[in-house]
Each structure stands twice: as C-alpha cells, then as structure tokens.
C-alpha cells in the first residue's frame, strides 16, 4: 500500500476519490473494452487492506476511520500531556512527606473547573463521533442495488460454495472459492452456513457479515477498482479456519461477462487419450461422490464444483497455488497440505494420478 507508508494507520489519500467518483456510473453504463492480457491478471497482487478501499462501502468506512483516528489521537495526546506535566513538575516527595490535606478545608475550584471542562468536552466529542457513526451506517445501507448481480454464498468447513443466479440471459451456475464480479455494478450476496458459523470479509470492499446456520443474511457492496481481493473466513470455524480464503476478482464488465459465460458452460470433452483416461479415473474413484464436474457423471454435492477448476487461482480455498504439480500434491495427500481437511486421500496408482491431473488441468 503506497498511500500509507508514512502514517501506516491513516488513509492519507483515497485512490477512489482521485480517480473520480463519476467513473462509477459510467463504468456500468457503457462497457469499456479492456485490452488487459490475462497474464496481467495472474500477477495482480492480492489485496487485503481495510485502508485501501476499492469500493464505495469500504470507502465510507475508511473515511469514518480517519475521522475517529484523529479525534481519538487528539484526546490521547491531551491525557498524555496532563500526565507528563505532572511528571515534569519535579515536585517530588518521599513516603514520609506529610500529606497535603488542604483540599479538605477549601474546595479546589480551578481543578474542579478543569475536570468538568475536560469531561464536557469529551462528551461533545463522543456525541460527534456517534453522529458520524450513525450517518456512515446510513450511507452503507443506501447503496442502490436495483441492477445488482445476485450470488448465493454458502460457507462449509473449510471452503466456499457460490451459486450465481441467472442474469441477462446467462443461465445460473455454481462455482467455489473464487468470485468474479464486474467493476461498477453492485453485488448482493445472500449468505448461508452449511455447518458452523463463518464470516464473509473482503476488507478492500466492505466490512464483515456472518454466515449463520438457520439465519439468512445478505451483504451489498460494489467494487469500483479492478483488482484481486482476499476474503479470509473471519469467524473461527474449526481446525482449518486459517486456510479458508475466498478470492474476489473485480474486473471489467466485458471480462466478467466472458468469465461468466465460460463458467456456465459444461466441461469440455477431453480430446487426448491421457485426459480421457483421467476423466474415467475421476468418475470411477471416490472423487465423484463428493465433487461435481458438469458434463460428466460426477455429480457429488459435498465438495467444490470442479467444472472449471483451472480458471481459479488457488486450490483448497487458498491453501495452494493452482498448477499441475500442486494439484497432484493435493490429491495424493490432502492432509499434508491442509491438516484436518475433510477431503480424504484417494489411493491412486501413479499413472492414474498422472492421467487424473492431466484431465483436471483441461478444466479451464
């Protein structure tokens, strides 16, 4: 984060405002063609800071943060000045020094006024902060969502299942652990928990919202800047709470549309012999009883949908980068990569594993 090097806790300039708020509307109204190569996306750094807002909701919160930090900082400095003043007066005493009991006889009017004044000032400042809090809360609830993209997100120990609703002629589809969203268009995510409590949190975009068993909730936000944002589970959910990351890719509407079109399609039929054998291995092995790959007979519902596995940047909810070598490592011993994971080790012969990985890497 370039902006906060000198004052790491303060957002000195908010990139969004400099870029111009007017761009948000335009970005959605006219689809700006973007020529960025996919290689650029792969190297985009993973962002995970509440102080570098990439969307209007996080922006509101960051502004409140700045205000609160300044007010609290001033009060803190005031208290320290008082204590330092007492220390620097150097009127020292010993335990034998007779106590000064003059306060019994005459009330200390000056001190009383000072303490009352400081108390009154702190009440005024605190009421000011409450007003700022409530108005920020209001602003957060006013995001217009009439043209929003709707996603159902379910938290499981320890991965994320996403269900994109049908949108503008594109059919609904299921994916996992990585969301793509168009820049400039609001997103409404309906949150649910499959087992225990999890929490959705993408600090660059918005604050948290818990995923609670038996209680439906939603979160609304909008990404206004392209980027790849980290969304770690933020409520302790058991053994692998640390390795349960959701990734949010905010991209141009055109690129998003292309991604969504790919995701809603079924898996391509394998073209070479090795991949075809890999598909057979998958369908015959226990893999298929938990995972789905649309276009094959594998229709398991207990684990991430793998139809377009290779379109994701990570494996096992952020535990590993997504490439052939790590895929093989993950399949052969999941517990070594992510201790406690619910994915069992499937015993495959070396050629079978090779074929399986070859097929999985075709699931683009």
């Amino acid at each position: 984060m370039k902006t906060s090097r000198a004052f790491p806790l303060l957002v000195l300039r908010t990139p969004l405002r400099r870029a111009g708020m007017a761009r948000y509307g335009r970005a959605f109204a006219s689809v700006v063609p973007v020529v960025a190569a996919s290689a650029a996306r792969a190297t985009a750094p993973l962002e995970h800071s509440a102080l570098a807002p990439a969307g209007i909701q996080a922006e509101h919160i960051a502004r409140l943060w700045n205000l609160t930090l300044v007010v609290c900082g001033v009060v803190f400095a005031g208290v320290l000045v008082g204590v330092l003043f007492a220390l620097l007066r150097r009127r020292r005493a010993e335990h034998t020094t007779p106590p000064n009991l003059t306060s019994y006889a005459a009330p200390e009017r000056r001190t009383q006024r000072a303490v009352a004044g400081a108390s009154a000032l702190s009440v005024v400042l605190l009421v000011g902060l409450i007003v700022a809090d409530v108005s920020t809360d209001r602003a957060l609830s006013k995001l217009p969502v009439s043209n929003a993209l709707h996603i159902d997100l379910t938290g499981w120990q320890w991965w994320w299942q996403a269900h994109y609703a049908a949108d503008a002629g594109r059919p609904a589809f299921v994916t996992a652990n990585e969301l793509h969203i168009p820049v400039g268009r609001p997103v409404v995510i309906a949150l649910g928990a499959g087992d225990v409590i999890h929490s959705f949190w993408v600090p660059n975009l918005h604050g948290k919202k818990d995923l609670l068993p038996g209680i439906a909730s939603t979160i609304e936000f909008r990404a206004d800047r392209e980027g790849v944002y980290d969304g770690p589970c933020a409520e302790f959910c058991g053994t692998e709470h640390a390795l349960m990351a959701l990734r949010i890719v905010a991209e141009s509407p055109a690129r998003y549309a292309a991604w969504a079109a790919t995701q809603s399609a079924s898996a391509a039929v394998p073209t070479d012999a090795l991949a075809a054998r890999g598909m057979q291995v998958f369908e015959r092995s226990p893999c298929a009883s938990c995972h789905s790959v649309r276009g094959t007979s594998a229709q398991g519902l207990l684990a991430p949908d793998l139809t377009h596995l290779m379109s994701r940047q990570t494996l096992a909810a952020g535990a590993l980068p997504n490439d052939a070598a790590d895929l093989a490592r993950w399949i052969s011993d999941p517990n070594a990569v992510k201790p406690g994971t619910t994915m069992p080790a499937v015993h495959l012969s070396s050629p079978d594993l090779q074929a399986l990985v070859a097929w999985l890497t075709t699931l683009k």
């Binding site: 993973l46 609160t68 204590v83 702190s122 605190l126 409450i130 809360d137 818990d210 959910c237």
Partner: protein, 650 residues
Amino acid sequence: MNEPDAALPSGASARANVESETSDADRRSLALTWADPPGWLGALAAINHKTIARRFIATTFASFLIAGLLALVMRLQLARPNNHVVGPDTYDALFTLHGTTMMFLFAVPVMQAVAGYLIPLMVGARSIAFPRMNAYAYWMFLFGCLTLYGAALLGAAPQAGWFSYVPLAGPNYGLGKGPDIWAQMITFTELSALLEAIVLITTILKMRAPGMSLNRMPLFAWATLVTQFMVIFAMPSIMLASTALILDRLVGTQFYNPSLGGDVLLWQHLFWFFGHPEVYLIFIPALGFISSILPTFARRPIFGYTAIVLALIATAFLAFGLWVHHMFATSIPTLGKSFFTAASVMIAVPSGIQIFCWVATLVTGRLNLKTPLLFVLAFFFILVIGGMTGIMLGAVPLDLQLHDTYFVVAHLHYVLLGGAVFPLFGAFYYWFPKVTGRLLDERLGRWQFWLFFIGFNVAFFPMHWLGLHGMPRRIWTYSSGMGWSGLNLLSSIGAATITLSILLFLVNIVRTHWRGEAAGCDPWGGATLEWRTASPPPPHNFDAIPVVHGRDPLWDAPRNPAYVSGLAADAREVLVTTALDAEPDMRPLFPQPSIWPFVSAVATTVLFIGSVFTPWAMVWGSVPVAVTLTAWFWPTRRQTAQALALERKP
C-alpha cells in the same frame, strides 16, 4: 458518628487509645482465637481470610503463568509464515486454553482474591463475612482449574475458543469431551465467583468499622462493591448458557440447533450479556487499585471522590448495555445496533471522568515516584489507547472491518493488560509488604516495569496494523505472501521481552523472601486502615477495631473515640455495623475452622465431573453433597454454649 458510645450495643464501648492498652495477654489470646489450626489437616480446615486469599492469589497467579506460557508457544508458531511449531488442532487448543484461563481462571478471580485479602483490613474488620463459604469458594475454584488442566493433559482440551460458539462447540461439531469440560469449568468458576461476590458484598456492607459510612469508604472497597454486584447479575447468564450447552450435548436438548427450532445466536446473546460485563469485572477493581495507589504516592487525598464513585456505578450500569457490539456482524437490525453503538461510546464518559480526576490528583500532588506508581502511570498510556480503539470498535461501520481481526487482539490486550494487569502489578508492589512484611526490591521492580512496558507495546501495537491489513484472529498460520511476517516477528520478540519481565518479577519475589527489607506497618505512608496494623497482619487483623472519622483515617487528625473495646478476645466475636452509616449493630459469633467446606467441595467436584459423563451423576452425586453440607452446618454444643454465655440482654 457523633456519639458512638450511645450507639454501641451493650457490652462493647468505644474508647480512646485502646491499642496501647491492649494487653499482651489479650493480643495472644486474640491471635490464638483467630488462628488456623496447625498440621496438614488444619491446612485443609483453614478459614482465615488471609490464608484463603493468599492461596487464591497464588492459584490465580499460577494460572496467569501457565496461560502466558501458552501464549508464548502461539507467538513462536506465528513468528514466521508457514511455521510448523504446532499444528492447527494444537494451536486451537492453545488459544482456547489461553483465553479461558486468562479470563476465567486469572483476571476475574484474582480481583476477588486480592479483595478477599484487603477488604476486611481496609474496612477494619476481624474477618471476612461467611469465612467457611469463602474457603469453599476457593476449593471449588482450585478444583475447577485442576479439572480443566487435568482434562487437557489427558487429551480432552477444549478447542472451540474461550467463547465456545455453537454449533462449533455443539454436539455435531465439538467432538470429544473438550466442550463439556469447558462448560463444567465455567460451572466451577462461576459458582466460586458468585459465592465470593456474596462474601465480599456482605463484608463491605455489614462489617465496616464504626464511623466508616458509605461516603467515607475507601475507593477500592467501592470498586469491589460495584464489581461484586455486577458478578451477581452477569454470571447467571453464562451459567445458564453453559448448562444449556451441556444439556444439548449430553441429553439431546436442542437449545442451539436451528434445524429443530433452536438458535445459534441465543448462545451469543447469553455469552456476551455476561462477557461484556466481565471485562468490567476485571477493569473496575483495577480502577480501585489506581484510586488507592495514586493518593499515597501523590501525597494528597484523591481529587473528586464523589465523582469517581458515581462514575464507577455508571460504568456498572452501562456495562450491561453493550453486549451486542460483539455481534455487529450478525443479522441484527440496524436501529438496534445504533443503540449499542451509543452505549458503547458513552461508557467512555465515566472512564474519562475518572481519568481526569486522577490526572488532577497527580498534577496537584507531590509525586513519590516508586514502582507501584510507575505501573499506574503506564495505565494512562496503555489503557487510554485501548479505550480509544474501544470507541472505534463500538462504531458499527468500523467494527465490521475490525471485528475478529488482530486489531481486536491488540485492543483487548491494551484494555486488559493496560487496564488491569499493569495496575495489578502496581498493587502487588504496593501491598506485597503488607502481606509478607517485606518490601519488594525497587531496582528489580523498575527493571521489570520497563521490560514489561516496552515488551508489551512491541508485542501488541503492531497487531493494530496487522488487523487493518487483513489478518484475521485465531489463524494457526499465514503465508509469506501476505506481508505480515515482519510485524509478527516483532510481536513475538515483544512477547519474549514480557516473559523476561515476568521472570524478573519471580526473581524479585524469591529474593525478597530471603533478604527483603522489613516493611513495618506502613512503608508507603498510606491513608487507609490496612496500614495501621502489623505487616503481615495478625490472625485477628486488628488488636482493637478502629473507629473512623473521615475518608483518610490514617491521615486525618486523631479523634476520640479511636477504638472499639469490649469484643471478646477468647471467642470469634465480630462487630456488625449498619449498611449506610456503619453504626454498631450486632456482635455475632463467627464459625470455627472446619474440614467440611473442603469435603463439600470434593463432593461437589465429583458431581460436576460425573455430569460430564452421565446425567445420572446429578442424581447420585447430590447425595454426598447433601451429606457434607449437613455436616458443615451441624451445630456443636460447645459453640452453642459459648454463644449463650456471650449473649447480653439489652
């Protein structure tokens, strides 16, 4: 108290300068009457409040050391990215035990333990109220600690966090006995805390020395009184919650199961209705320490006594209106959240008033800059930062970003260490000479202070930044690409520095034991009654019960009557006074030491542990409890005869 003589019950009278007239024979007789019996059986039967409190403090301090070591292992694991010092399950057990121990087995009980030692001395009483119940409460606490750690050593450590959220701790996901052990540990410690609350409230309201009306009571006694009332209102909520959890797990009730009409948020409401006031159960007694230490070392009475008392009471009320700010990320209506924001921010006002009064005391006083005062001065730096971050966390929008990140870890340690542990160490240095008769070494004390202060800030300040930059709490590892490595290493170095500081403290205690400077009655020139009696105090605390004429009895000009006379020296006779004005009221006989509180505690422990395994333990386990309690309360002929002999017709 204009005419204390007239108000004394017949047989007791107040006279000037009795202490000098208390004969050596009487003094010996009093000491013999109030002493605990000798031998190891006598140790189990001890009920003197100072004996019990010393054990209580030692037990809580041992808990503090163990929980600190657990934290050290966590910091070792997090010092580097992708580290494998411990695995995820061990890490989960570590932070669960660390949080549980620090909150339930250290911070809340240590405040009660210290109060159990000091309150009778501060209010000028021979004993604490209900001394046998006090002993029973200690044994229950000890057995609760042993249950938790015994189970952990046997491999049944709880792993669902100190907050034990359902469904993670419920029957479907909290496998093994860990969550049951956790819930029963709650039962042990909350039972102990509730009994201690009753003991302390009764002592403060009914056993103050004549003349110590409520508006003359030491501020530590006020802080303790307010805290113990909070205990009585807060603890039943967590006992209810943990009992419902155990019932869900043991007999298949569905309190927390949403698929059968239960509610996972019910747990959170009940837990935090207790959990937030709990912070103030830790914080308010520490405010009492500060209000005791500051006047002594600023050589003047506290500024704004009435304002501080009212602020303590206001804090106690507001503390019950904040719990939802732990749940802002759940689906709670926005309007409701705004109320809790307002309450959370406004609780800063009474704390602010107290801080301003203390700063005024410091500025207008002459400072005797000794170790206890250093620890109090650190409070102004650390607690105020923690208070400021608390205001941030009270705001819904900010909390949504900061909740469950390392920012909160930083905040809670700033509040709990700055607000309670630093003043507690100040209190250790301040009252250690009273308890042991020897002063802790000043030079070692300063070293300990600076190592602790610097180590603390190095360990916890970076966590604010980590939280703002996306590091969630309770993660056992992180990858090197996140940019968190440097500050985590720094934080671990801070933790090592704190460890060094605590080691120095232990060295100081051991050294003082061998060659500490003798303290005398009053090494600091204090104003409250505990400094009037010998260090360590005799079993009966005071040779003669003092009569109080002002807020600072040892600083005020001496006035007659100065002492109460007429209480029996050869019987455990105490003076009970009225609740508001502390006018002498009754002279009841207090109970003798007894083995039965200990035996009853053992029987209760068998019941509690048995109920982890079978609900029938509630039925069969209650028989020994009933038997031992009956034996405990069975009157003896000798005591009845003694009571009758001391009775005087008005």
